[in-house]
Symmetry: C2
Subunit: 248 residues, 2 copies
């Protein structure tokens, strides 16, 4: 039992948080810079407990979470994905022309994003915690199968936010999936649904930015927003997606 | 503007809730019985705002929510899915032998589930609000694409819980997808990712029940739970999934 746990976790309730449910939903954002400190076991327990409360089709609970913090295998898994992430980002930075256009201005959102991503992949091998959310399939893959795993992933990120931590989802495991499965004894037919990194946020980070609600919510006709689809005061906006040159 | 809205929603902050983030994550469960009252527009705004704060790949925000409350088209969409749901459930009830084995005992979990589902599909056409979460694809379907829509769906369900409402995800739209798209002018290439019903819960409902954490969380070896993967006191358990006869 870790030093931070005065009694067995089976007798320890989930920690309290000052963050309200609606406030948490509106303020959880991708966190890619972490302090170099491990996440206490009691915190991991609370975060994973919240993740596994998520719904799934027929309550089958086909989600499994491989949680890699410290130890040799965890370090190997992080290093494997770090290599993959660095290659992926180098290509994307080039292909999506992150350093051209507004990217030439170091204060532009594009530049800031490029710096954040570069830092993220450079430091990936040192992330405090790497989680691989996995899906145990009971039928052929369908585009709907994510309905039984990504709600749990979102719960995980929200719980982290509630406890003063943060994380982000990526697909960096893709190119090294076979090696990862061999390293961690993950059966071949398991679907690793994403790569998730977690840690205590480093420094300040910006607000959640989205498109206006009128572009995302429709009434009984596609493309037509109901009158009530108005953002609350103080909402921050973004254009959607990566730089336009990257869109196909 | 509805009677419940004293000022424009663009000047109305999201409502407060007494539910904390971690409490909300642990206590949100599928709600299938609703009071027969419409959801106020201010509540719908808050719920959909929370939904659209969810993360998505490259912050592309490919999620669109078709929200059907009142009016003729909404009624037609609900009736369409209700028919599909009634047929689907009649077959499932038979095939999965919900009325045999422990299902013969009216107090068994199997019996209770069967009664709840029968009520749900029988009353489907009268659900207070039907939401169709849709994905705008920018590439060929992949099993990972759900990572950009189901987190938003989960946010939606959590926000509903925070405001005293509840809902559930189903796939009942599947067999009538073409008719729904025609009715609501949804373009053919849009992926309707699930059917979601929302309303104020009727009566009392049970706790969230899941498998023990030790079955769902692993360390650096598949199938082996870390020592910290202990449920907190008071956790309620279930066997996973539909009756064993239904498993393939």
């Amino acid at each position: 039992m870790s030093q931070s746990t005065p009694q067995p976790l089976s007798q320890t309730p989930v920690a309290n948080t000052d963050v309200s449910l609606l406030e948490g939903l509106a303020s959880t954002r991708a966190i890619r810079r972490y302090l170099n400190e491990p996440i206490p076991e009691a915190v991991l327990r609370d975060i994973l407990f919240a993740a596994t409360r998520a719904p799934s089709g027929s309550n089958r609970q086909p989600f499994r979470f491989v949680v890699l913090s410290q130890g040799q295998r965890a370090a190997q898994a992080k290093a494997l994905i770090a290599d993959s992430a660095q290659q992926f980002w180098a290509e994307k930075r080039q292909n999506d022309q992150y350093d051209k256009g507004s990217g030439a201005d170091p204060d532009s959102p594009k530049s800031r994003m490029a710096r954040t991503m570069q830092h993220y992949v450079d430091e990936f091998a040192k992330v405090p915690c790497l989680v691989l959310p996995c899906l145990v399939r009971y039928r052929e893959p369908t585009p709907m199968e994510g309905a039984s795993i990504y709600p749990a992933v979102q719960n995980l990120l929200l719980a982290a936010r509630g406890l003063g931590y943060g994380g982000v989802i990526t697909g960096f495991h893709g190119p090294v999936e076979a090696e990862l499965k061999a390293l961690l004894d993950i059966p071949e037919d398991i679907f690793i649904t994403c790569t998730l990194t977690l840690g205590k946020p480093q420094g300040r980070h910006g607000p959640v930015r989205r498109r206006p609600l009128q572009e995302l919510v429709f009434g009984d006709t596609w493309g037509e927003a109901p009158a009530w689809a108005e953002d609350p005061p103080g909402t921050r906006y973004t254009k959607a997606g990566p730089p336009p040159t990257a869109r196909s």
